[in-house]
Each structure stands twice: as structure tokens, then as C-alpha cells.
């Protein structure tokens, strides 16, 4: 017997249509009420669906709802599909390269409140519609009778697959609209940049309680630039250039003990290398690297 409820989710099996090459298959949707911080359970008019099929959109969602719950009208459908050609994107976290590359005037991430990958949110016109849909889905799932027709999910219309989908895929951009785009976003960038400069200017002008002002060089552009330039002493010790400078001043072969120490060091190094090599050969022997046949 198939499972019908998984934690707070209702499991709705839908039938994917077959093609001439592959038979029909069951697909499982996990459905619950959509609850967010802003929208309490009592107020929501959306359902949260886990494991949406590929290419799920408003139309095929609507078609599904019309099969299971006539009269529940949906207003919108949002989804986040897994799509990662390089296999490097981590959907569990947001990465905003713009902000990372420049904390001061990077672009804010515009999309927030993101839907988890592979999930979708159906919003109904009203709460009643949502409730109707959910209850009829539950009813459908719970009914043990096998005579009722399982809902079907139509993945694509013909126009969305095959040659019509893939012929002539290209990334060409329209030069005109692209230049407009670039223009507007560069304007926005300049504005942000300007704001930061203003802030910096303000800093130089304000006198703090003790009567100090921040000194800013003519090439400084950002606040974090100033903060970043203050190196602590520990940083300095790690700085190669600095330590080289210090070391250059020392004379290395002045005292006898220095020469002695150096020689000892040399012999020890030699010995260490020898031991390392012995170890290496031992490992190679274990791997039978010396068998010439």
C-alpha cells in the first residue's frame, strides 16, 4: 500500500503520460499549506508543493487542479527548478558575487524569499479555493477505491519539446535593449558609488568627541578600504616582505656557534631527506613498483 501522508505533507500521485518511446510513470507531489513568516496558516491562500515535475508552470498546474478540485481557481504559480549545467551551484545558499567583490557598493540581492529547489507555490484566488483543493486532494488520496481515475499531469505541449524546443537555441541579445539595460544599471551603480563617496566625505568632515577626524588619502574610495589597510602587528609578522627586511639585517656567519649551527642543520637536513627517501622507497616497494615485468 502506498503511503499517503509524509509528515505534514499529503502525497499526491499523478500519472505522467507516456510517449511512443517510454511508458507512463507515476510521479509524486508532496503538498501542504504554504506558511511563511509573513503569512500565518490561518491567512494563507497558497499551497506548497514539493517535487514538481520538469517544466511545471501555471498552465499545467491549472489543468491538474481542474482534475482534482473543480472550482478552485488559481491565481499564480511560482517554482524553482533544479538547473545547474556546471554542477557547482549550491541551492542551499545564496551567493552574491557582486556584494562579495565589493561590500560597499555591490548590488543587493533582489530575489529574496526564495522557493527551495524543486518546489513550487500555488496561490489560489481565495482561501476557500485553497481549502477546497487541499481537502479534495486529501479525499482523493485517502479513498482506497481504485476505481477513481488518477489525476494526470501533462508535462508539455508538443510545441515545448523536441525540435521546437531545441532548434536554434542561442543566446543572442538585442543590441539596442542591451545597451539600455547596461546604461540603467550603470547609472544605478554610479549612484551607489556616489553615495559611498559621500559617506566617506562626511567621515572626513565629522570631528569626533576627542576632536579627531579621520584622514583619508586622495585615492581612497571606500570605507572598508580604510579599515582594511590597518594592519595589526600579527599581520605584519606574517608579511613576507617585512620579515625579509628584518632578516636581511642579521649577519649569519659572524659567531662560531652560528656556523656550527648551520652545519648541524645541513647534516640534519641531509639525514632527514635520506630518511624521507627511504620511506618513499618503502612505500613504493609495498606497491610493487620495482617489478620490471
Amino acid at each position: 500500500m502506498a503511503i499517503k501522508q509524509l509528515r505534514e505533507y499529503t502525497v499526491l500521485p499523478v500519472l505522467l503520460p507516456g510517449t511512443r518511446n517510454i511508458s507512463k510513470a507515476w510521479h509524486y507531489l508532496f503538498i501542504k499549506k504554504h506558511v511563511t513568516k509573513d503569512e500565518a496558516e490561518s491567512k494563507t491562500r497558497s499551497l506548497f508543493i514539493v517535487n514538481i515535475p520538469v517544466g511545471a508552470n501555471f498552465n499545467n498546474m491549472k489543468r491538474l487542479m481542474s482534475q482534482v478540485a473543480l472550482g478552485a481557481n488559481i491565481e499564480s504559480f511560482q517554482a524553482c527548478e533544479y538547473y545547474d549545467p556546471d554542477n557547482v551551484i549550491n541551492y542551499n545558499m545564496d551567493i552574491n558575487l557582486s556584494k562579495l567583490s565589493n561590500a560597499d557598493f555591490g548590488e543587493e540581492n533582489l530575489r529574496d524569499n526564495r522557493i527551495p529547489v524543486g518546489c513550487g507555490v500555488v496561490t489560489f484566488l481565495d482561501r476557500d479555493g485553497m481549502n477546497l483543493a487541499l481537502s479534495s486532494i486529501k479525499k482523493l488520496v485517502m479513498s482506497s477505491k481504485s476505481d477513481c481515475k488518477p489525476p494526470e499531469w501533462e508535462l508539455f505541449t508538443d510545441k515545448e519539446t523536441g525540435s521546437s524546443r531545441y532548434l536554434g537555441v542561442n543566446n543572442r541579445l538585442n543590441a539596442g535593449s542591451l545597451s539600455k539595460d547596461v546604461y540603467s544599471s550603470m547609472k544605478a551603480f554610479e549612484k551607489r558609488e556616489h553615495e559611498v563617496e559621500e559617506e566617506l566625505k562626511q567621515m572626513t568632515e565629522t570631528v569626533d568627541e576627542d576632536g579627531f577626524t579621520v584622514v583619508v588619502g586622495p585615492h581612497r574610495k571606500t570605507k572598508s578600504g580604510i579599515m582594511g589597510s590597518l594592519k595589526t602587528l600579527t599581520d605584519l609578522e606574517h608579511d613576507e616582505k617585512y620579515s625579509k627586511k628584518i632578516k636581511k639585517k642579521e649577519k649569519k656567519d659572524f659567531y662560531r656557534f652560528q656556523i656550527r649551527e648551520r652545519k648541524k642543520q645541513e647534516v640534519n637536513d641531509l639525514l632527514k631527506k635520506f630518511k624521507d627517501d627511504q620511506e618513499r622507497v618503502r612505500i613504493m616497494r609495498e606497491k610493487r613498483r620495482f617489478n620490471p615485468y
Binding site: 503511503i3 509524509l6 503520460p17 518511446n21 517510454i22 507512463k24 507515476w26 510521479h27 509524486y28 508532496f30 514539493v50 515535475p53 520538469v54 533544479y82 538547473y83 545547474d84 549545467p85 556546471d86 554542477n87 551551484i89 549550491n90 545558499m93 551567493i95 558575487l97 557582486s98 562579495l100 567583490s101 565589493n102 561590500a103 555591490g106 548590488e107 529547489v117 524543486g118 508539455f156 519539446t161 523536441g162 525540435s163 524546443r165 531545441y166 536554434g168 542561442n170 543572442r172 541579445l173 543590441a175 542591451l178 545597451s179 544599471s185 551603480f189 558609488e193 571606500t222 656550527r260 639525514l271 635520506f274 627517501d277 618513499r280 622507497v281 613504493m284 617489478n291 620490471p292 615485468y293
Partner: protein
């Protein structure tokens, strides 16, 4: 052996061998060793010296001091510590088992007793002897050499041998383990009384010896049971010398063994009984190589004019000198401590390269090597100065001998003369050569290299040269290439390998009596004739010609006089191996003497027959020449076929089996033909046309005036622009996935680039828009911007400019600024620990697409010109990967880096001189590359030709060779990487060069453990097939170039709605050439661009690459046939995802179904259904295998 007695301190090592750090370091040694103990006792740093008890303290320093000395000694006497340790280990591994040796000694004693018991025979005439053996219980034939005697006026007799001694490596204790079994050589010396001084003539001694041998065999067979030594006897030719049969004794345990029986078959040993002549019985002078000792009656030839019989003479001389050389070598071994180990190294070195004392295997084996070393211990220099010193280490001895072989010409310009007489310690290099390889022993008057030919000598020298180069390499450890790697496979060894069935060569007529006495066998005669013809015809096209007879099984039963004729003579082949000079071998013209030189001209035209013609060249000279037409096979092969047809046997070329040509046919053929004056294989004109179109475009971009900054550089980064793309670039071939050739544009330095990544990209876009505008104004050019999705998290922001040129090519430009890298690095710095990995990946993508690819292109475009066959070989390797559905998993750069290994670091082979050989060596390398434990470190400056020029540090810097420090740094990187990830789950192939010391730029993120393992497995299978079968017919090659679809979990067969073959620029499969129409213009409809199947594959990969590993042919055009499918998409489910139950999470990331116990599992059916559904009408069929 204490270390004090080691002669290392009192002998000043020779400058030739020593790395040049003797005196100083010895001085240092004294001070250091003495000082070492002092600080040890007062040392507070060493915890164990202080805290532990007295016993430990007294033990520790002593041990260390000794260790220090060993360590120091090895650094001086050997190349490095590790090398010495490796040699020690190798010598140890090769050592014969003591228990086996003991057993064999017992066997030898019994054998000795048995021989002593053999009774003397009466004097028998030839007829009596025949009757005697016929009557005996064991069927024994007398192994008379050809011609078999019919009536003789002298008698045969057996008497107990004058001397029985152990000769060869077992006696010298230099024997090594061999998979084919070891043999112990025992020499019986015939008593003086049985021979007369004149017996050296006309086979007399040989016939007497044959009787002697048969008599021994007959009695040994009879005595074996009685003496409890069950043995099997057979005849064999000593080192392939048909004049000198020996008895081979093998253990053959009886069915009902008794306790007394000595059985030694498990040891792998066999014993060879040689019968030798007493030293000095024949006057050695008369047996010098230029003397005739076989008098035959030939028409119109006077006795005085009979040709010399060097093989016969040397065979008799060498049979008379077994014990003499035994003494000589034994003394040498006793005087030099490391002699034995050096012998072992030499023996192995020769063996790995297929050399042995056998005439058919080069004629230079253990005996020759050891004798050479012994001679070099006593001199060998031009003034008799010693080449080897007695205090040398084994490594130094080996290296000095190799060096001697490499630099001294012992064939045409000089020879080495030594004396095996113990009292005379003198050997000199004399500057007159005999045109045969010569190391002459003044004592026995034997040339110990008599079994070598000039061709095998040349081969040996080539090996010595390359090994010397390896031993001089101070950067990396070359031990495995020197000793461990086997370089003996005919298929891999030569650039062109040709086989001719011996039975097809109808040369018996010309093998007259005179040839018979100077060449002894028909095979030698034919080989020598072919060699002469070929070296006259090929001249500087080849660096090495080797002609030999294949597979002569030498053993035959004692009941027969000589080896049984193989019923099917076709099994015997003449093997011709050619090593080519890539700069010469592909030339289509063979130039001869000037027209004015009449005599030479006549010679030329009589040699070349109808092909010879007189041609006028551009520089005005008129020369005799031959012109060869271009075809899929190399002109060198064409010449070989033609000239052997002409001079050897007519029509022989149709029976020739040539391996390399079949590989050339595998390269994709392009829609348009290469122009006549370029070479279609090495550098097709397609690449030059592309290049010139690119140069024109660059000129336009450089001269743009409407840009705020001027263009500083345009750097190409495209495999087609460096002549290495799988498909040849064909104009207007828009379905070729590589149609757009990428390059990177850089502007003059500016401080005004935005300090934020998105804004920077948008500024770049603004620049591209400007360029776009002005390119579109140029007639014939059109361009457009497109999104560039190369860098994750920056999709839809980055743009690139694509340009179509009037010549019909496409180019793609990206912009690189000096700000980019800083911004990426800053992002990594700012990212928190969770984000760091993903941001670092972004940086890697950026490095690849903007900086790494340019460096790679620069390095490889120079390599392509340096190694003419590199380009086509890489293309063939790509074709193989493509056919095996592996191509999409590798970046092109990674493929090229792996392939270049066999060109810049070819040891133990030489640089490949043909496509087939290059390809096989790449496969061979990949199959043996243990990437979990070994890094691939490449020196892309790769100028190995002139080692002397790069010794100065100044030039080192100029030529950009990999230095020791850099090499060590890269090794450190690799160690670190494997420490974190020992099984290689993240990074499989570590491929580093000076350009990329991190080693993972090209191999991270797109490979994966299963694909890496599959590459290894497939290459192993392929190379196994190729090396086993010497003849590559098309079905075998097809097998290697076809992928096994059943290995995958599921296969989606797909077909594009249009034929992509012609549109990718690939020659359609059609019978009528006049129906092929070249493409002439770009279609206006952008939907015609690209390959829909690739887009389909890309979407599947984007959606499902976490669930399954998907593979596909990248170049659909190559697989497009009229009927059926044109491409396949295959998949293997990722077991980590697709198997087992998982806990339910909303963002689990893949398609799931519920299980009974409130968990979820991967819903494969639904995934497959959706995959196929996406494909719609492109899908032809779907198959699930597992």
C-alpha cells in the same frame, strides 16, 4: 662490508660521470661527521637523546653517523639518494632465489657426474655414426648445420670433455629473475685430440661438434633415469646462430617420482650445454672477419675471390673462447666491487628494450654488455685512458657505459680494441671503423659484436642517447623510465611497422652458394637485402630502420636434425620497423643529384626505375627527383612499397601489412579539400585559412578608433586556431559545436574600471557594444552580442561578442581587464566558510576561460609546430574519446595536456613520428597512469633536443624550462591535494605545468571518478587489443572506436530533424563526389545555427547531472547517417543519489517518491519519463539496460 673499505674516498671519480662535487664535499664530510657527534651529546633539542637511558644514547649517535655517511655517499656516488635506494631495491628484487640456486647447484653436480660417465666412442665414419644413432634406444639425430654432409673423409669420435665450466651470467652470479625463465650456460670443451688445426675450414669442426653434441645427448637421455635426474632434452641454436646448436636441459618430472629424483621445473631454470673448441687450436688469424673459410665451387669465381665469411668465422671463434671470456669477466668482477650490480642493471636495461645476444634480437645482450664494461675498466679512451674506475658505484658504472655507447661510434668511425688476456690490461678506442659494429678482442681475434648489424647498433645507440638524457635529468626521478618501463613492443616502438610474409618473397634464386656462405641463412640474406634497399631509398626520412624475422621458435626435439619447418610458412614474417624523422618523412619529393652529374644521375634513375624524372625547381636548379602522390598513407610508406616492388619481389606490396595508414583514415574528413600545396595530414590548409581570416578580423579590431581605450592585445584561445580541433574548420559549417573560435581582448591599462564585479562586466558589455557597432559597419562582417554562461552566479550578466567573417568563419571575443582577478580573489576573501568553495569554483571558471586558456594556447601553438605529428595525433585521440562518449567530460585543454606527454616526455621511446604510433603511445600512457598516486607534471617548454645549451642558468630562464624548485613545488601541491582527498573523489587527474602549478585548473569539476576510471579501463582494453594483435585490420580498429552502449544504465537514441553532417563541415557518406556541394553562405535564420541534440543534452545535463552521469557524442555530424539514429545520450545513475532511502527534505534536489517507512527514494521512472518527454520528436528510441 664496512663503509670504510669502500673505495669511494681514495678514488677521484672521473669527471665524465661525476656530477662535479667531489673535493669540496669530501672536505666538508670530515668536518661534518666529526661535528655531528659533538652537538649530539650536548644537544637539548633532541628529546630522546636526553631523556632516554644510556643504552639508547650510545646507540643513537652511532647509527646516525653511519646513516649520515651512507646518505652523503649516495648523494655523491649516485645521482641522488632516492635513485640509489631504488637501484638497491631493484637489484634486490631481481636477485635469484637462494633456494633455487642451491637446488640448481645440486642439479649441476649430478649433470657433471653424468657427463663424466659418458664412455668414449670408437672412431666412426659418417655412415657408422648414422647407423650408431639409428640403433640407439633414444631417437637422436646429429644436428648437422646446413649443408648436411653426405660423405666425409674424416672420422667422428667422442672423448670426455677436456673441461666443463659454468659460463654466462649464472657463473658470474649476475643472473636475474626473468618471467620467461633463467638459463644456466655450461660449456663442454672438446678434447684437443678430436680436432685438427685445419678443421676450421669447410664446416669440418662444426660437423665434428654436431656429432659430439648428439653423442652427449644420447647418453644423457639414457643416464637420466639411473642418476635420478629426470630431464627433457632438446636442441636449440645458441643465440640464434644456426651454426652452433646446443642442448637445452629442462626438468621433466616423471609420473611416478621417487624421493631421489631431483626436480627443478618449479624454479624456471633450464640448462644449456654448449660444446666449445679448445682455445688456440685454430689459427685465429685465418678466421678474421675478412677471410673466407668456406670454399665453394662457384662458376667463374676463383678461390681467391670468394667472399669473406664473417658470420661463420666468428661463430667458430666464439665457440673456442667460452672459458677464456669466463676468466676475463670473472677477474673484472673480482676487481670492481660494484661490477656485479652494474651488470644486473645493464642486463635489465637491455631486456626492457628488447635487446639480447640473440642475432634476431639485436645481438647485444648481457655477455656483450659485461665484456664492454670489463674492457672499459682497463681503458677504452682514445689514449687508452680508463672509462670506468674500479671504485665506481654501480650507478656510475652503468651510466658511464651507457655514455660510452652513446658518444663513441663503434661502427663507421672507430672501434674498441681490447684483449681478454689477463696479463694485458689495455683497451683503446681506435679511430678507424669497419662499417660494422666492432669491439675487437686481440687475444681471440673475435669481434664480440659480430652478431650485431649496423641497424641494430644504430638502435642501441639511440636508446643509449635517450637513457643518457634521462640520467642527466636533475629535475625529476627518471628511475622508472630507465629500468621499469618496458619499451619492447613492436607496435609501440616504431613509427611505421610493416610485415611481409616470408613465403611471399621469391628470392630463393638469388640466394646462391656465395650468398649462402656469407649470410648462412636465407632470413639473414633477405633482411640484409631489404635493409640495403630501404636505407638507399629512404635516406634521411628515417632515423632508424630495423629489419628482422618475427617469432622464430628456437627449440626443437633431439630426434630431428634442425627445427621443424612450420607447416604454414606464412607464420614467419619479415618485420620492418621504421623510426621517422618527422621533418622529412612527409615530403612528397625525393631529390637526387643535379642534372649535370651524369654518373650519379644514371645511378639514381636505375635505382628508382620509372619514377625517376628530372625536375626544375624554383631556385633554378635542375635535379633528378621522384615525386610521390599524396594519399592517406605517408609518402614514406609509398616509397617502401614502390621500391620493394621494384627491387625485391614484384607485387610484394599487396602482401604487405602496414599498420599506421589505417589510423590516418580515422580522422574526420572535411567537406572541402585541402589545397594542393599543404600537407593534408600534418597541417591541412583549413587551419591556415581560418588563421588568415582571424588575422584580418584582428586587424579591424586593433584599428578601431571609436573606443575610449585602445586594444592592447587579442589573444587566441581556440583549438582550431592552434590546429588541434577534431573537426577541420570549414567555412559556413555552423552546426560544428566549435564553430566560434574564442579569443580574449585586452585594453590598455586603466585605473577607471569599476571596483565591483557586476558593474565591471556591464562596462565590458558596453565596450563590446561599441566594437559590435563598428564591426557591423565593415562589409561582409556581421556580429552580435550574446550571453556568456561560463561563470556560475554571473549568468546573464557576462556577455561576449560573436563575429561572422565574410570568409565564413565565426569568432568570439571576451574582454579581460586587470581588475577581474582582483575582484574574484576579493570575493573569495570576503566569502564565509560555507560560501568559500562555491566562490573558489567561480574563480576557477574565470581562470580557465580568461587566463588559463590563453596561456595554454600560447604554449601549445608552439608545440604544434615543433612536433609535426602532434596536431593530428591529438585529433585522433580526441576522436577516440569522442567515439567512446568521453569527450564531453573533458575540457579540450585537459585532453591536449594528457596527449602532449608522449611528445615532450617520450621516454623510453623517442618522439612519435606517425599518427598511429603517437595515438597508441598516448593510450599506453593513459592505461598505465596511476592518477591516484602519480601527478602528471609537464614541461611545456619541452626543448629536449639540445641538453648542452640549457645548462646555463641564464638560458634556463629564457627557455622557461621547469626548474627543480618549481617541480618540487608542484609535487608538494599534489601531495597536499592527495592528503585531503586520497582516493581522488574531487580531483582525479592532477595535470600541472609551469603555466598551472595548481594542477587542477583543467580537471576540477567536470570529470568525476567514474569517468576517470572508465578512461583508464577503456585505454587498457584498447592497448591490450592492439599490442596483442600485430596486424590492425579495420574491424579491430572499429572495435576500439565503438562504444559499448550496454555498459550504461539507459540509452536515449536521438536524431536531429536535419542532416548535420554537411553542416558541420564533415564529408557526407556519398558515392558521387560531384554531388557534394560546399557551403557558401550563412543562413539568415538563427535557428539554423548549432545542433539541437546538443541543446537537448545540455538541458538534460543541467537538470539531471546530480542524479546520473550523462554522456553524448559532442560532434553529431560525425555520426549522422541517413537512417536510424545519429547520436545517443547515455546515462549511469549516481549510486549515492539513486540508491537507498533518504530522509525527506523539501529541497532534496531530485525527483523522489515516498517509501513505506516515511522516507523517500529516487523516482527513476519519473525522471526517465521526463527526460524522454523533453526530447519529444528528437528521440528515436529509449533503452534501459540495468
Amino acid at each position: 662490508m664496512t663503509h670504510g673499505s669502500r673505495p669511494s674516498n681514495n678514488v677521484e671519480t672521473d669527471a665524465d660521470v661525476n656530477e662535479g662535487r667531489t673535493e669540496k664535499s669530501q672536505e666538508l664530510e670530515k668536518t661534518k661527521v666529526s661535528e655531528l657527534e659533538a652537538p649530539q651529546s650536548v644537544s637539548t633539542k633532541r628529546p630522546n637523546a636526553k631523556s632516554d637511558g644510556d643504552s639508547h644514547r650510545s646507540k643513537q649517535p652511532k647509527l646516525t653517523a653511519q646513516d649520515v655517511q651512507v646518505a652523503r655517499e649516495t648523494a655523491e656516488l649516485f645521482k641522488s639518494n632516492i635513485f640509489k635506494l631504488e637501484i638497491d631495491e631493484l637489484v634486490h628484487v631481481l636477485k635469484l632465489k637462494d633456494s633455487h640456486c642451491k637446488l640448481m647447484e645440486k642439479v649441476l653436480h649430478r649433470l657433471y657426474d653424468m657427463i663424466q660417465e659418458i664412455p668414449a666412442s670408437d672412431e666412426l665414419s659418417l655412415e657408422d655414426a648414422n647407423v650408431y644413432f639409428k640403433q640407439s634406444a633414444t631417437k637422436v639425430s646429429i644436428p648437422f648445420p646446413d649443408p648436411k654432409p653426405t660423405s666425409l673423409n674424416y672420422k667422428f669420435k667422442y672423448e670426455t670433455p677436456e673441461d666443463i665450466s659454468l659460463v654466462g651470467s649464472f657463473g658470474l652470479k649476475t643472473g636475474i629473475q626473468q618471467p620467461s625463465g633463467m638459463s644456466i650456460d655450461v660449456a663442454l670443451t672438446m678434447p684437443h685430440e678430436l680436432l685438427q688445426p685445419k678443421d676450421y675450414m669447410n664446416y669440418r669442426a662444426l660437423y665434428k661438434r654436431a656429432f659430439y653434441l648428439a653423442y652427449v645427448a644420447e647418453h644423457l637421455a639414457a643416464l637420466s633415469e639411473e642418476k635420478h635426474l629426470p630431464i627433457k632434452l632438446s636442441y636449440e641454436y645458441a643465440d640464434g646462430d644456426v651454426l652452433c646448436p646446443v642442448i637445452k636441459v629442462q626438468s621433466s618430472p616423471s609420473d611416478s617420482p621417487t624421493d631421489k629424483d631431483v626436480v627443478f621445473d618449479h624454479t624456471g631454470f633450464s640448462i644449456k650445454l654448449y660444446v666449445g673448441f679448445p682455445l688456440g687450436i685454430f689459427e685465429a688469424k685465418k678466421l678474421l672477419p675478412d677471410r673466407n673459410c668456406i670454399r665453394v665451387k662457384a662458376e667463374e669465381v676463383d678461390v681467391k675471390d670468394l667472399p669473406p665469411t664473417p658470420l661463420y668465422n666468428s661463430s667458430i671463434l666464439s665457440s673456442g673462447s667460452y672459458t677464456c671470456f669466463l676468466k676475463y669477466l670473472y677477474t673484472a668482477k673480482k676487481t670492481a666491487e660494484s661490477f656485479r650490480d652494474a651488470c644486473v642493471l645493464g642486463k635489465l636495461w637491455l631486456k626492457q628494450r628488447g635487446f639480447s645476444s640473440d642475432i634476431n634480437e639485436g645481438g647485444f645482450g648481457h655477455f656483450e654488455f659485461v665484456t664492454l664494461m670489463a674492457a672499459l675498466l682497463e681503458g677504452g679512451g682514445e689514449s687508452g685512458n680508463r672509462i670506468l674506475l674500479h671504485g665506481f658505484s654501480s650507478y656510475q658504472m652503468f651510466k658511464a657505459t651507457i655514455r660510452y655507447l652513446s658518444i663513441q661510434d663503434l661502427c663507421s668511425h672507430g672501434h674498441l680494441s681490447f684483449s681478454s688476456l689477463l696479463s694485458e690490461h689495455r683497451s683503446v678506442y681506435k679511430a678507424n671503423g669497419f662499417d660494422v659494429p666492432t669491439i675487437f678482442d686481440k687475444n681471440t681475434k673475435l669481434n664480440i659484436l659480430w652478431k650485431m648489424t649496423p641497424s641494430s647498433y644504430n638502435m642501441l645507440r639511440l636508446y643509449a642517447n635517450s637513457t643518457l638524457e634521462l640520467l642527466n635529468d636533475v629535475v625529476r626521478d627518471r628511475f622508472p623510465q630507465t629500468f621499469i618501463t618496458k619499451a619492447n613492443n613492436k607496435v609501440l616502438k616504431y613509427d611505421i611497422f610493416i610485415q611481409i610474409p616470408l613465403s611471399e618473397i621469391n628470392q630463393e634464386d638469388s640466394f646462391g652458394p656465395l650468398e649462402k656462405i656469407s649470410f648462412i641463412t636465407f632470413e639473414t640474406f633477405v633482411c640484409s637485402k631489404i635493409f640495403k634497399i630501404l636505407s638507399g631509398a629512404l635516406r634521411n626520412r628515417v632515423t632508424q630502420i630495423s629489419v628482422s624475422v618475427s617469432s622464430t621458435s628456437s627449440l626443437w626435439p633431439i630426434a630431428h636434425r634442425k627445427p621443424l619447418l612450420v607447416r604454414n610458412q606464412k607464420e614467419k614474417y619479415i618485420d620492418i620497423g621504421l623510426s621517422l624523422d618527422p621533418a622529412e618523412s612527409e615530403k612528397k619529393v625525393t631529390k637526387g643529384p643535379l642534372h649535370s652529374q651524369k654518373a650519379e644521375g644514371e645511378k639514381f634513375s636505375s635505382f628508382w626505375g620509372s619514377r625517376a624524372q628530372v625536375r626544375r625547381y624554383k631556385d633554378g636548379s635542375i635535379q633528378y627527383s621522384c615525386l610521390w602522390t599524396a594519399s592517406s598513407e605517408s609518402p614514406t610508406v609509398t616509397i617502401v612499397k614502390y621500391i620493394l616492388d621494384l627491387h625485391l619481389t614484384e607485387g610484394i606490396s599487396s602482401n604487405m601489412i602496414v599498420n599506421s595508414s589505417n589510423f590516418n583514415l580515422l580522422l574526420p574528413r572535411s567537406l572541402t579539400l585541402s589545397t594542393a600545396n599543404s600537407h593534408p595530414l600534418v597541417m591541412p590548409s583549413h587551419f591556415q585559412q581560418l588563421r588568415s581570416s582571424y588575422d584580418d578580423l584582428c586587424k579591424i579590431v586593433y584599428h578601431m578608433t571609436n573606443l575610449p581605450l585602445t586594444v592592447k592585445s587579442i589573444l587566441p584561445a581556440s583549438s582550431a586556431l592552434r590546429g588541434m580541433s577534431l573537426l577541420l574548420p570549414v567555412p559556413f559549417a555552423i552546426a560544428n559545436p566549435d564553430f566560434f573560435n574564442e579569443s580574449i581582448v585586452q585594453f590598455e591599462t586603466s585605473t577607471r574600471w569599476p571596483d565591483e564585479i557586476m558593474a565591471l562586466e556591464r562596462t565590458k558589455t558596453a565596450f563590446l557594444l561599441k566594437i559590435n557597432e563598428s564591426i557591423n559597419k565593415h562589409k561582409g562582417y556581421s556580429s552580435f552580442l550574446s550571453t556568456d554562461n561560463e561563470i556560475p552566479y554571473l549568468k546573464d550578466v557576462v556577455t561576449s561578442l560573436e563575429v561572422l567573417t565574410p570568409e565564413g568563419y565565426g569568432f568570439k571575443f571576451r574582454i579581460l581587464t586587470e581588475r577581474d582577478e582582483t575582484l574574484y580573489l576579493r570575493s573569495i576573501e570576503n566569502a564565509d566558510t560555507r560560501q568559500k568553495q562555491a566562490v573558489t569554483d567561480c574563480y576557477f571558471y574565470f581562470m580557465r576561460k580568461y587566463i588559463g586558456c590563453v596561456k595554454h594556447h600560447r604554449a601549445f601553438s608552439s608545440l604544434v609546430t615543433r612536433y609535426p605529428f602532434f596536431g593530428p595525433t591529438v585529433r585522433l585521440f580526441k576522436q577516440w574519446l569522442e567515439s567512446q562518449l568521453l569527450y564531453p567530460h573533458f575540457s579540450e585543454e585537459l585532453i591536449e595536456l594528457i596527449a602532449v606527454k608522449c611528445f615532450i616526455d617520450p621516454a623510453p621511446y623517442s618522439i612519435p613520428g606517425s599518427v598511429g604510433t603517437g595515438f597508441l603511445r598516448i593510450l599506453d600512457f593513459v592505461s598505465r597512469w596511476n592518477w591516484r598516486e602519480d601527478a602528471l607534471i609537464l614541461d611545456l617548454s619541452g626543448d629536449s633536443e639540445d641538453p648542452d645549451a640549457t645548462t646555463g642558468s641564464y638560458i634556463d630562464k629564457l627557455s622557461g624550462k621547469l626548474t627543480v624548485q618549481e617541480y618540487q613545488g608542484i609535487l608538494e601541491n599534489f601531495k597536499k591535494l592527495r592528503k585531503e582527498d586520497p582516493s581522488g573523489t574531487n580531483i582525479q587527474f592532477f595535470v600541472a605545468s609551469k603555466q598551472d602549478p595548481s594542477g587542477k585548473l583543467w580537471s576540477c569539476n567536470n570529470l568525476g571518478l567514474p569517468i576517470a576510471s572508465r578512461l583508464t579501463a577503456l585505454s587498457k582494453a584498447a592497448i591490450g587489443l592492439f599490442t596483442k594483435s600485430v596486424q590492425f585490420d579495420s574491424s579491430l580498429i572499429m572495435l576500439v572506436f565503438t562504444s559499448a552502449l550496454k555498459d550504461y544504465d539507459f540509452v536515449i537514441k536521438v536524431k536531429a530533424p536535419m542532416n548535420l553532417r554537411a553542416k558541420s563541415g564533415v564529408l557526407p557518406i556519398q558515392k558521387f563526389k560531384n554531388l557534394i556541394r560546399p557551403l557558401t553562405q550563412f543562413p539568415g535564420d538563427p535557428s539554423q545555427y548549432g545542433d539541437p541534440l546538443q541543446s537537448y543534452f545540455a538541458e538534460l545535463k543541467a537538470r539531471y547531472s546530480n542524479v546520473a552521469i550523462l554522456s553524448c557524442h559532442r560532434y553529431t555530424g560525425l555520426y549522422d547517417t541517413k537512417e536510424g539514429c545519429s547520436n545517443v545520450i547515455t546515462g549511469i545513475f549516481n549510486p549515492a543519489v539513486a540508491r537507498g532511502e533518504k530522509k525527506f527534505r523539501a529541497n532534496i534536489g531530485f525527483n523522489i517518491k515516498p517509501t513505506e517507512d516515511e522516507h523517500v527514494e529516487c523516482n527513476r521512472e519519473s525522471i526517465l519519463n521526463q527526460m524522454v518527454c523533453l526530447g519529444g520528436d528528437l528521440v528515436v528510441s529509449f533503452e534501459k539496460y540495468h
